[in-house]
C-alpha cells in the first residue's frame, strides 16, 4: 500500500537524522521536533493530522510560547487509540479526527480534566466533560473529477449517486474510492454515522462494492488519485483536506451531498500521565481559539469552531460528542458492522 511505503520512508529518514530517538510500540507515521527560541519545557503531541497540514499551527503556537519545545508525532487514529489505551504511551496531548475514539478515551478514564477561559467559551456541543475539546468543524464531502462526469448530471444526493453509478458501470468500475473502515478510524466514524442518517448507505456500499471500489486509509491518497484521474470520485473525504489539495488544480470539484453532510470535529484531549499538562492546556487554548487566527485556518484549511446555531432546514449533521459515540465502538456492534460492510464492498 502506498501510504505504508511513505510511512516507512519517513521513519527511515527520521532514524537517519537521529530524530526518532524515542521508539514507540505503535506505528508512527511522521515525527518532527520544533525547538523553541528559549525552551525550558517540552510538549509532546500525538496527532492524526499530517505535519504538512498542522505545521503552521505549531509554529504560530511556538511563536506565542517560545519556551516550549514541541515533539509532534503523527499516526492513524486507530493507532493513536492503541497507543494511549493499550500502551500508555507518554504524550501530553492527543489530537484526533476520530471523535468516537477520543470520547472513548475520556469515558474510560484516559483523559485529564482541563478548563480555562478559552475552553469555557466553547459552545457546549464542542466539549465533553471538560476533557474532550473540539477545535475544527469539518464536513465529509464527495470529490469528483469533472472529466469523468462529462455528459452526466453531477449527483446531488446519495440516491442520485446510487442511480448514476448503477447506470454507468463501465465508466465507474474500479474508479470509486472510499475509506476502508477496517483500517481508518475516521472512515469508520463517517460510515457508521452515515448508516444512522440514511437508509441509502447500505445500498450505496453495495453499489460501490459491485463497482470494485478502491479502499483507502486516508483522505490524502483518495484526493490525489482523483486528481491523477485514477478515480472518478472519492466518497466521504474530509472537506478541509480536499479544499486545500484541490486548490490550483483544474478538473476537480468538491460536491457536498444535499441529503445530508456529516460534520466531524477534530478534538484534543490531555491523556492521563501527561508530563506537561500545563503546556498541553495552553496548546488546547490556542487550538480552540483558532477562530481568532483566520490566517491559520486559511493556510491549514481547518475550519474553526463557529458558535452559531445551525440554520433551520440545514443539511449539516454534526456528529455529537457523548456516550452515543461509544455504541459503534462496541466489539459486537463493530464486528457486525464491519462484517456487513465488508460483504457489501467485497463482492
Amino acid at each position: 500500500m502506498r501510504n505504508a511505503n511513505i510511512r516507512s520512508l519517513f521513519v527511515g529518514i527520521l532514524l537517519l537524522l537521529g530524530l526518532g530517538s524515542i521508539s514507540y510500540a505503535f506505528e508512527i507515521e511522521e515525527q518532527k521536533r520544533y525547538s523553541g527560541a528559549n525552551a525550558q519545557q517540552s510538549l509532546s503531541i500525538l496527532s492524526t493530522a499530517d505535519i504538512a497540514v498542522f505545521e503552521p499551527i505549531i509554529l504560530a503556537f511556538q511563536r506565542a510560547n517560545p519556551t516550549i519545545n514541541i515533539n509532534y508525532v503523527t499516526s492513524g487514529s486507530t493507532e493513536v487509540m492503541k497507543a494511549i489505551y493499550k500502551e500508555q504511551a507518554q504524550f501530553d496531548l492527543v489530537i484526533s479526527s476520530a471523535m468516537d475514539l477520543q470520547t472513548k478515551l475520556a469515558n474510560d478514564g484516559f483523559a485529564l480534566d482541563y478548563s480555562s477561559e478559552a475552553t469555557n467559551a466553547l459552545p457546549d456541543w464542542a466539549r465533553w466533560r471538560n476533557q474532550v475539546f473540539g477545535f475544527t468543524q469539518e464536513p465529509a464531502v464527495m470529490v469528483i473529477s469533472e472529466a469523468s462526469f462529462e455528459g452526466l448530471e453531477v449527483p446531488r444526493t446519495r440516491q442520485e449517486l446510487i442511480e448514476t453509478l448503477r447506470e454507468n458501470p463501465e465508466r465507474f468500475s474500479g474508479r470509486v474510492g472510499t475509506y476502508d473502515v477496517r483500517t481508518s478510524g475516521l472512515g469508520y466514524l463517517f460510515a457508521t454515522q452515515d448508516s444512522r442518517n440514511t437508509e441509502s448507505f447500505w445500498r450505496l456500499t453495495e453499489v460501490m462494492g459491485r463497482l470494485d471500489a478502491q479502499l483507502y486509509c486516508c483522505s490524502g491518497g483518495m484526493i490525489s488519485d482523483v486528481a491523477s484521474g485514477k478515480l472518478a470520485l472519492a466518497y466521504n473525504v474530509l472537506g478541509s483536506y480536499a479544499a486545500s489539495q484541490i486548490e490550483g488544480r483544474d478538473g476537480l470539484r468538491i460536491v457536498p451531498l444535499d441529503d445530508f453532510v456529516g460534520v466531524m470535529m477534530r478534538t484534543a484531549i490531555i491523556p492521563v500521565g501527561a508530563n506537561n499538562p500545563d503546556a498541553a492546556g495552553r496548546f488546547i487554548d490556542f487550538l480552540v481559539r483558532l477562530g481568532q487566527h483566520p490566517e491559520l485556518s486559511e493556510s491549514t484549511g481547518l475550519p474553526s469552531i463557529v458558535d452559531q446555531p445551525l440554520p433551520a432546514g440545514t443539511v449539516m449533521r454534526p456528529i455529537r460528542l457523548g456516550p452515543g459515540l461509544l455504541v459503534f465502538l462496541d466489539q459486537l456492534r463493530r464486528e457486525t458492522f464491519v462484517r456487513s460492510w465488508a460483504s457489501s464492498i467485497e463482492q
Binding site: G109, W128, L326
Partner: protein, 462 residues
C-alpha cells in the same frame, strides 16, 4: 436567656421568637426541598438507566447458539442527554461476557427477578449508579440467562444537587429575611397600643387623674382598668387630704380671729413697753398663722378646682380691673398708686374665673406688700397674636439675690421680707393656676429701674 426574655421589651421578645421560628421553618424548608429535588434527580437518572437497559434487552438475539446484541444507538446516547457522565455497560450471558466492560461487576440478583435492580458502587475510581436487568434469550436448545448491566457516573447528579442546594439555600435565606422583616412589623403593630397607652398617660399633667378612656385591645383592658382604679383611689385620697387641710385651716382661722381681737384689746390696755412688745409679737404671729391658714385654704381650693377646670371666657383686662378695684383700699393705706394699662383689643382667654382671680390677686398683693409707701404699681395687659400677658410691675425692694426658680415652691419666702407677714404660698398658688391653664408664671426684676415684674403669660398656640 430566660433573664433576657423576662426583661427585654415585648417587641424584642416577639421579634426574637418569630425570627427563631422563621429560621427553623427556613431550615425545614431547605432540607425538604433539597431532599425532594435530589430524590427526583436520582430517580431521573435511574429511569434513564432503566430505559437504556431495556432498549438493549430488546436488541438481544441469538445467532448460531450464541447470544448477541446489536447495541442501539439511542441506548447510550440517551444517557448523554442530561449530563456529561461516563457510561459503562456489560452484557453477560450465562456468566460469559458477550460485550462491554469485562471488569464491570454484575449486581447479585435473585433468581428469576426481572425487574431492574439498582445499586451504587465504585468503578474505575468513581462512584457509579448501576442498573441491571435480567433476560432469558433462547438459543434454540435452552434459554440463556442474560444480564444487562449499565453504569453511569454521578457527576451530573452532584452538579444538579449542588445547584439545588444553592437555590434552596437562597430561597430559604430570602424566606428567613422576609419573615424576620414581617415579624418586626408584626411586633411593632402588636406593641403599638401599649405604646399609645403609655404615651397618653405620660402626656398628662401631674394633676390629671381622670380615667383613661382611649380604646385599647382586649389584652390591655385589665391593665387599663387597674390603672383607672388606681387613679380613682389616688384621687379620692388626694381629695380627702385636701378637704382635710381646708377643714383644718378653716377650723384654725376662726379661733385665731378671736385670739387676735382679744389680743388687740389687751394691747391697748397695756402700759409697760415690754408687755406691749410681747403682745405685738403675739399679734404678728397670729397674723402669720391666720394668713397661712387662709392661703392653705386657697391652695386646697386651687388643687380641688384644677381637677375639673371650668372653661369660662375671661377678659384679662376686666379681670385685672376687678382685682385692682378690690385691692385699691389696701394700696391706698400705703399711698400706692396703681396704674392700669390695658391693650385696646380684648385679651380673651379660657379658664376658671375663680382661680384666675386668685392668681392675679396674689401677685398684686405681693406687689403692694413689698412696695414702699407712695410708689407706683403698673398693671399691664398686653395682647398679641400669639400671647396674652398680664404683668404687675412695682418699684419695691425687688427679689434681691433670691433664687427666682425657688420662690414658686411651697412655703418658700425671700430673704428680704423683713417683718412682712406672709406664708410663702402666694406664688405657689399663682404658678399652679397658670400650669392648670397651660400658661406660665414668669418672675423677673423690673427692667425699668428697681422693683419686681411678675407676669402671667398665656401662649395662644397651645
Amino acid at each position: 436567656m430566660i433573664r433576657f426574655l423576662v426583661t427585654s421589651s415585648i417587641r424584642r421578645r416577639l421579634v426574637f421568637q418569630l425570627s427563631i421560628m422563621a429560621a427553623l421553618l427556613s431550615i425545614v424548608f431547605f432540607v425538604a426541598v433539597r431532599s425532594v429535588a435530589e430524590q427526583a434527580a436520582a430517580d431521573t437518572q435511574d429511569n434513564i438507566l432503566a430505559a437504556s437497559a431495556t432498549s438493549i434487552a430488546d436488541a438481544l438475539y441469538s445467532e448460531r447458539g450464541q447470544v448477541r446484541v446489536e447495541l442501539p444507538y439511542s441506548a447510550l446516547s440517551m444517557l448523554g442527554t442530561i449530563s456529561e457522565d461516563r457510561v459503562f455497560y456489560r452484557i453477560v450471558a450465562d456468566g460469559e461476557t458477550v460485550t462491554g466492560y469485562d471488569d464491570l461487576a454484575v449486581p447479585k440478583a435473585d433468581q428469576g427477578q426481572r425487574a431492574a435492580l439498582f445499586v451504587t458502587e465504585q468503578y474505575r475510581g468513581e462512584e457509579v449508579r448501576v442498573v441491571s436487568i435480567a433476560r432469558a434469550v433462547s438459543n434454540g436448545v435452552r434459554a440463556a440467562d442474560v444480564r444487562i448491566v449499565i453504569a453511569q457516573t454521578r457527576r451530573g447528579l452532584a452538579q444538579i444537587s449542588s445547584q439545588i442546594t444553592t437555590n434552596a439555600m437562597a430561597v430559604a435565606i430570602g424566606f428567613f429575611l422576609m419573615a424576620t422583616a414581617l415579624s418586626l412589623l408584626a411586633a411593632q403593630s402588636a406593641v403599638a397600643p401599649v405604646k399609645k397607652l403609655a404615651e397618653s398617660v405620660t402626656r398628662r399633667g401631674p394633676k390629671d387623674l381622670r380615667p383613661v378612656i382611649s380604646k385599647t385591645p382586649g389584652e390591655l383592658v385589665p391593665l387599663v382598668d387597674a390603672l383607672n382604679n388606681f387613679m380613682m383611689r389616688l384621687r379620692a385620697s388626694l381629695t380627702r387630704s385636701e378637704e382635710f387641710i381646708a377643714e383644718a385651716a378653716h377650723r384654725v382661722r376662726t379661733p385665731l380671729a378671736t385670739v387676735r381681737t382679744q389680743a388687740e384689746v389687751v394691747h391697748r390696755q397695756m402700759e409697760k413697753p415690754e408687755n406691749r412688745k410681747a403682745l405685738r409679737e403675739m399679734i404678728r404671729a397670729v397674723d402669720e398663722s391666720s394668713r397661712s391658714a387662709g392661703q392653705l385654704l386657697d391652695h386646697a381650693m386651687v388643687t380641688f378646682r384644677t381637677d375639673q377646670l371650668e372653661q369660662d371666657e375671661i377678659n384679662l383686662a376686666t379681670l385685672a380691673d376687678e382685682t385692682c378695684d378690690r385691692l385699691q383700699p389696701t394700696a391706698e393705706l400705703k399711698d400706692i398708686e396703681i396704674v392700669r394699662t390695658f391693650s385696646k383689643e380684648p385679651a380673651t382667654i379660657f379658664g376658671d374665673r375663680i382661680l384666675m382671680q386668685n392668681a392675679v390677686r396674689n401677685i398684686l398683693d405681693n406687689a403692694i406688700k413689698y412696695s414702699p409707701a407712695e410708689s407706683v404699681i403698673t398693671v399691664r395687659v398686653e395682647n398679641s397674636s400669639d400671647q396674652a400677658v398680664l404683668s404687675v410691675i412695682d418699684q419695691g425692694r425687688g427679689f434681691g439675690d433670691a433664687d427666682l426658680g425657688k420662690l414658686t415652691s411651697r412655703f418658700s419666702r425671700g430673704s428680704n421680707v423683713d417683718d412682712i407677714v406672709g406664708s410663702g404660698l402666694g406664688l405657689t398658688i399663682a404658678d399652679e393656676v397658670m400650669q392648670a391653664h397651660g400658661g406660665q408664671l414668669h418672675i423677673e426684676p423690673n427692667k425699668e429701674g428697681v422693683g419686681a415684674c411678675v407676669m402671667l403669660i398665656f401662649d395662644r398656640s397651645l
